[in-house]
């Protein structure tokens, strides 16, 4: 029960919107990887916490929030032709 095929190519503005959605989908994956990254370098014999680690985690956190804040206004007006696709 699908609607007629969606257009294969898009004008510039809808194209950018699609890519913004892609970015919004990728962001949590990137975030998860970044949050797991210190496990690799701290996996050794380091036994105590360093302030550098703290700064790193809060830095990643802050970047994620900033990115989400930058994406949010563009994603908000989900136009009529909604999609699960591209």
């Amino acid at each position: 029960m699908r609607r007629p095929a969606r257009p294969l190519f898009l004008a510039r503005a809808p194209y950018r919107l699609r890519r913004l959605r892609d970015a919004a989908r990728l962001l949590p994956i990137l975030g998860f990887l970044l949050l797991l990254l210190p496990l690799l370098w701290a996996g050794g014999d380091q036994s105590t916490l360093t302030s550098g680690e703290v700064l790193y985690y809060f830095g990643v956190w802050g970047v994620l929030i900033l990115c989400a804040a930058a994406f949010a206004p563009g994603l908000k007006g989900g136009e009529a032709g909604e999609e699960e696709d591209d």
Partner: protein, 894 residues
């Protein structure tokens, strides 16, 4: 600080919350919510994720395990930052199908199955119980801190008594505001706003304590960093397994926690709020966790060893003599605890009443009380449920003794509700997920969680005997609750997380793969999974069997008289009927069901309507009918499209033909005048000279001259008529061909010689390829030569170059030979190219060289008769014609 002051502060605070909730409720009733429905309030209300566990427990967690406490906030951050994946769909479905709770969502997705609703409700209640106990415990601990800090006068209050009164107070508050009315769609504006206020209070309190610790006790940020580096605690090492597992666990929990679902999905009307919250909520979480590590580090340094790190937020300011700050912190903790308990108990009460109490009630009171108002039953069920939930929490607190660390209890609760996740995600994204699969998955997950995590949390010997702990169930060592299948060295929580979620998902997928969903289930599955595509209605009732009056009386029982009448009247008016009783069309039944499910949940609403309609569900045949209907429509439109394209093509061809006809008709007219002219000129001179001759008395040389003129003119006439006759013979295909082998070279020579008579004054350069011309053709040499003569003469006539040149190119291609005649003149304009082979066609502006415009038409007919063709070759730098002849012409083909 006097203990009474503390109690008074609490009471004042609660009264203030009451006031906020009351004002908002009354504004909501008149529909003036304004900024109270803003993204800000939405985001703040989401902060019930941060309970007393966050407020007190996170510091304790940090003091015990370092940065690991951050995982509890990273999970939700990732989920919200990635809202486009899941939350958006969740909120859209919640809005579109009036979902009242997470149990309702699951039951609705899997064919409005109440069994699933009950299972999810049980999981949620069991998992929430320790969590609520945790909140009570935190308030009791906080009271205890103040009591022990105030030696003057007050005795430390009895812990369980405090917990009891806190529970009673919270139950009262929740009942008062959570069950005032049975809303269409479970929304509680007053409570949500109160929660938002509490969110501000706890944030301010924690940040205030944090600032005091960083800049009041320690010497600023750099000092804090130095202290963090100096703190030498081996336990603070991050364990990769726990780190990863806890991020995933908290991400799962933030979606499935009943209270999160309540504020995130049920209480919202606007998807745009979610976009704002996608960064604002993580920001809130980040701000609230900024100072947790400093407080923990400084607390460990400053406070005597053995003091409870869970209470550092209170004990640090108290130890430094900051009574007011401690009071603020206390209120912050108090508000975290209360907001969580209020929303959680509302969410659970909705589930319990909709999925447990009402179905049972309806079954018991099936026959009588047709007109009884169910709303009172629903509301009372909720009130009782709220009291029961809090009683359970209190009971857990009493049983567990309130000794375990806060964080541990919280994580167990997280893991419990996370069991709903596979069924939820599967239901939202996989149409193949079935009810049986969901039941199996949820059951497996719940049992494993209880066995591996929940029951062991009471300690060995409490619920599970020590023997089971050590030797496993039934003495099977691979069934030890914390070492299933021999996985001994795992962290207990990660062990439980891994096995429960893995086997849950496995059972869910396997069950879904092996079973076949019922019709309602399939409809619901399609509607949920494709919620953004629209198109699939949630339910299609069969037309007509329900009595509108019975429907109305049932709707009144749940929605209340006024709302039900309004609904029915509106529907009747839309159907163009007067009064309050619309026809029970499928659409109307859907609308009624949607309204009812907003109050009592999808499963119950569905069951109630199907009682009246008399038919339990749609049938598979109905489903197939729906599917084939839309398939037919699509096929029909595809056929229409094809036909339209065909029509367009035909119309184009017709238009072209018409244009050609018009042009031909014009040409014919032109020809008629031309031929009249051509015939008249010789006729005129013949007549004139014959008249002169008739008069006689002319010198003989004049007679001879005039006689020759008459003869020439008569020859011209004959030639013209010959041409016309020739053409008609060729066209009729009755021409007689004399086939013989002839050299192409010879034919060209003959043609060139003959054509020289045309404009003999001009000299043409001939470019030829003599070796290529030595081909013998089996054809009618005279006719072919006639074509060549015509083409060469045309070139001689019309080529307007200063140094005219004719190129003759001969090529053999398989069984065909092409002969190109190319001059270097202006060529033939594009628009004329399609006409030159027509009869009577003459280019108007070319050199007038006589001829009636029959030459090329005759050529074309000759070539057709010879089994070849003549065509104009565009783009050769001048006029160019290609003659194609077969190498050997069969007589038959001619």
């Amino acid at each position: 600080m006097p203990f009474n002051l503390l109690v008074a502060a609490c009471l004042l605070y609660v009264i203030a919350l009451f006031a906020v909730a009351f004002v908002v409720e009354s504004r909501a009733r008149v529909g003036r919510l304004g900024w109270l429905r803003s993204p800000l309030v939405y985001t703040l209300s989401l902060s019930i994720y941060c309970t007393a566990w966050t407020f007190y427990g996170a510091v304790g967690y940090a003091a015990r395990s370092g940065l690991e406490f951050l995982t509890i906030y990273f999970g939700p951050t990732l989920v919200f930052v990635g809202w486009w994946w899941l939350l958006r769909k969740l909120v859209r479905i919640g809005r579109q199908y009036r979902v009242t709770s997470i149990a309702d969502l699951i039951s609705s997705r899997y064919g409005k199955s109440n069994t699933l609703g009950v299972i999810v409700t049980v999981i949620a209640v069991v998992a929430a119980t320790p969590y609520i106990a945790l909140q009570l415990q935190s308030v009791v601990l906080a009271f205890g801190v103040f009591a022990s800090a105030t030696p003057e006068g007050v005795t430390a209050p009895d812990a369980s008594q405090t917990a009891f009164w806190v529970a009673v107070g919270l139950a009262l508050f929740t009942i008062l505001f959570g069950t005032r009315n049975l809303d269409v769609k479970e929304q509680h504006h007053g409570i949500v706003t109160a929660i938002a206020v509490e969110a501000v209070v706890k944030l301010v309190a924690l940040v205030a304590v944090g600032c005091f610790v960083v800049w009041g006790i320690a010497g600023g940020l750099s000092d804090i960093f130095a202290r963090i580096d100096a703190a030498d605690l081996t336990a603070w090492q991050v364990q990769p397994g726990r780190w990863t597992g806890l991020i995933l666990l908290s991400a799962a929990a933030v979606i499935t926690l009943p209270r999160m679902f309540q504020v995130m999905v049920v209480e919202t009307n606007d998807e745009g709020h979610l976009a704002r919250a996608s960064w604002a909520f993580p920001l809130y979480l980040m701000v609230i966790s900024l100072f947790i590590l400093p407080i923990a580090v400084v607390g460990l340094e400053h406070l005597p060893a053995g003091s409870n790190p869970d209470m550092f937020v209170l004990t640090l300011p108290l130890a430094e003599g900051q009574g007011a700050l401690a009071m603020l912190a206390f209120l912050g903790g108090f508000s975290s605890a209360t907001s969580m308990v209020i929303v959680e108990s509302i969410a659970l009460a909705t589930m319990i009443s909709n999925h447990v109490v009402i179905p049972i009630w309806l079954r018991l009171h099936r026959s009588d009380a047709e007109r009884e108002d169910l709303r009172a039953v629903v509301l009372n069920a909720r009130r009782l449920a709220i009291a029961a939930v809090l009683a359970l929490g209190y009971g857990y607190y009493k049983v567990s003794g309130g000794s375990a660390a806060l964080a541990a209890i919280g994580l167990i609760a997280f893991l419990g509700v996370a069991q709903v996740l596979p069924a939820l995600i599967g239901g939202l994204f996989w149409r193949g997920a079935t009810r049986t699969g969901a039941i199996l998955g949820l059951g497996t997950g719940f049992v494993l969680w209880a066995y591996c995590s929940f029951l062991p949390s009471f300690g060995p010997g409490a619920v599970l005997s020590g023997a089971i702990f050590n030797d496993g169930l039934f003495g099977l060592s691979w069934l030890r609750p914390q070492a299933l299948f021999g996985t001994e060295s795992m962290d207990p929580l990660i062990h439980a997380l891994f096995w429960s979620m893995t086997l849950n998902t496995f059972a869910f997928c396997l069950g879904s793969l092996l079973t076949f969903p019922g019709p309602v289930e399939r409809l619901q599955g399609a509607a949920f999974v494709n919620v953004f595509q629209g198109g699939v209605g949630p339910q299609r009732w069969a037309q007509g069997e329900a009595e509108p009056e019975a429907l109305l009386s049932m709707a009144q029982r749940i929605l209340g008289e006024e709302a039900a009448l309004a609904l029915f009247e509106k529907a009747a008016r839309e159907q163009g009927k007067e009064g309050f009783l619309p026809d029970p069309t499928p659409g109307f039944l859907d609308a009624v069901e949607a309204r009812l499910s907003g109050a009592v949940g999808a499963a119950t609403a569905h069951a109630m309507i199907s009682q009246l309609v008399g038919r339990a569900t749609v049938s598979v045949e109905d489903l197939m009918a729906v599917a084939s209907e839309s398939a037919q429509i699509m096929e029909y439109s595809a056929r229409l499209e094809a036909r339209e394209a065909e029509l367009t093509r035909t119309a184009g061809a017709l238009r072209e033909a018409n244009e050609k006809l018009l042009q031909l008709s014009l040409q014919k007219d032109a020809f008629l005048s031309q031929i009249s002219h051509e015939l008249r000129t010789p006729m005129t001179s013949i007549r004139a000279f014959s008249e002169i001759l008739t008069e006689g008395a002319l010198p003989s040389e004049q007679v001879t001259r005039y006689g020759r003129i008459i003869h020439d003119e008569a020859k011209r006439l004959t030639r013209l008529l010959d041409d016309l006759l020739d053409l008609s013979v060729l066209e009729n295909g009755t021409v007689q061909l004399n086939l013989a082998l002839t050299s192409l070279h010879e034919m060209l020579e003959t043609a060139l010689t003959a054509a020289r008579q045309t404009r003999p004054e001009r000299s043409f350069a001939m470019v030829r390829d003599l070796p290529a011309e030595t081909i013998f053709l089996k054809t009618d040499a005279d006719r072919l030569t006639q074509v060549f003569i015509n083409l060469i003469s045309n070139a001689r006539k019309y080529c307007d170059a200063d140094a005219p040149e004719i190129r003759i190119a001969v090529r053999q291609r398989g069984a065909r030979v092409t002969v190109d005649f190319i001059d270097n003149g202006r060529g033939i304009p594009k628009e004329a190219q399609s006409l030159i082979f027509e009869k009577f066609a003459r280019l108007s502006d070319a050199n007038r060289a006589g001829g009636a415009g029959l030459g090329l038409a005759i050529c074309r007919e000759i070539m057709a008769n010879l089994g070849g063709s003549v065509a104009y070759l565009p783009g050769q730098g001048g006029a160019a014609f290609r003659v194609t002849v077969p190498l050997r012409l069969d007589q038959l083909a001619a």
